[in-house]
Point group: C2
Chain length 233, copies 2
DNA sequence: TTGAACTATAAGTATGTACATATTATTTTG
DNA sequence: CAAAATAATATGTACATACTTATAGTTCAA
């Protein structure tokens, strides 16, 4: 029992997890410091550090300098989910991908979009509505606004070959984005585009992407009924 | 230019990011290996490793032994989202939290739940339907099934004081869970419970939690209209 | 010509040491 | 006695080195 050694950070992590799960270390408890654990586990402190850091990343431990490491009181665990590129998602299911551009123009965006994209009133943006189909059936449609002032070359791009998303990903670097996930009720327009019934619940992803503080594009993806996003902890 | 040194893993990461964003390293490109970068950056290979590993974790780089490191072709970036504990989420908005138990019984689950929970046909499970309210207004309701064979003590627990979720989190260790996010259309039951209109689109989270390969609980959270989950990259 | 064995390579990991940094605890000082 | 200076401490990081592991690429054999 006392002679057991944990030489890899994964095995250290597993042992720490075991102690947490077995309630040997309870939520809120301080656990021994890295130096002590490294002695007990018969490994280097760096190995313990790696294991504990990984657990802190998942939200299971709280760590603070000088204070020490404690088991998180509320395991608000962080799930990581892959933001799908629609084409790959569809092709990954063995279905054939196709998309059609329903609208492609320049227009003054509604106020909600204007706020998201931080543009002045009256400024026209590129507006694209694209329907993505899986095996010919509507899968999701994207209502996208692009700020051409931030995206050189987009005016000249052929967005019928590649989708706007693919073109942007391939040509414009970006720093980050924010996402929101929600549900909406299909109105007349959504029902028509997605070939579903009015009043059906639809899964919606809103995404804004920025670079150097400027919003490149803002898009709302409205999925056909039945869509699910999956993730594991 | 050539004399610049990057001594911390954060600065190495920033420089790598800069090169990716500036298209010096394009999607699909192999980047120099760790040893070469450590020479160029004037730091240890471990420092480069730390930086690149972090970027690989976010999905921006693909790394494989022997093959090397390349800029991800499709930045299927991984968003991390915090799975909320409903009470804290509501209280975090400055609203008062309250919950009521609508159903509390033992019953044979429908086949979908049975499949998720890997139980035999005919086996009864604990079934709990709980409505969570924010400032007295319906916020979300949970339709939960618990396998009492896996959860000792649940029968005796007082689930009116703490919600089932809080009780489980506090008393039963768990290894992991899987989540799915989707939308549904409010039927008669949902409309009644959440005080919304029939036919409204509702945001839904399905979650299963397991330990030692056994499914502890499976819950569907159905949120009142307007709910959003947010995350950033 | 397929496939099995081998080899070289790049990432992955472990370790001892050293120093940095944040933060708590203690002591000194006004 | 409160505020400021100081010490103590646990995590955080860097580095040189050494060894491990997965695997792409090559060679060899059936």
């Amino acid at each position: 029992m006392s002679g057991e050694e944990f030489k890899t950070w994964q095995s250290v992590q597993a042992e720490v997890l075991r102690r947490i799960n077995s309630r040997q270390w309870k939520p809120g408890d301080f656990i021994p410091n890295e130096a002590e654990l490294s002695v007990e586990f018969g490994c280097a402190r760096a190995t313990v550090n790696r294991a504990l850091r990984a657990l802190a990343d998942t939200g299971l431990l709280d760590r603070r300098r000088k204070a020490g490491t404690r088991v998180a009181l509320n395991p608000v665990r962080k799930a990581t989910l892959d933001i799908p590129v629609i084409r790959y998602e569809i092709e990954g299911k063995g279905q054939t991908y196709r998309h059609t551009v329903l609208e492609h123009n320049r227009a003054v965006p509604p106020s909600g979009i204007r706020a998201r994209m931080q543009t002045e009133p009256g400024v026209k943006l590129l507006h694209l509505v694209t329907l993505h189909l899986a095996d010919g059936k509507p899968y999701v449609f994207g209502d996208r606004w692009i700020n051409p002032a931030v995206v050189p070359g987009i005016e000249a791009a052929d967005l019928s070959a590649k989708s706007a998303n693919e073109w942007l990903v391939a040509n414009i670097p970006f720093e980050g984005g924010d996402f929101s996930f929600s549900a909406m009720t299909a109105g007349h327009r959504e029902a028509e585009i997605l070939a579903c019934k009015e009043g059906e619940g639809l899964f919606v992803i809103d995404r804004s992407t920025w670079n150097k503080g400027l919003v490149i594009t803002s898009v709302r993806l409205t999925f056909a009924p039945g869509y699910q996003m999956h993730t594991k902890i």
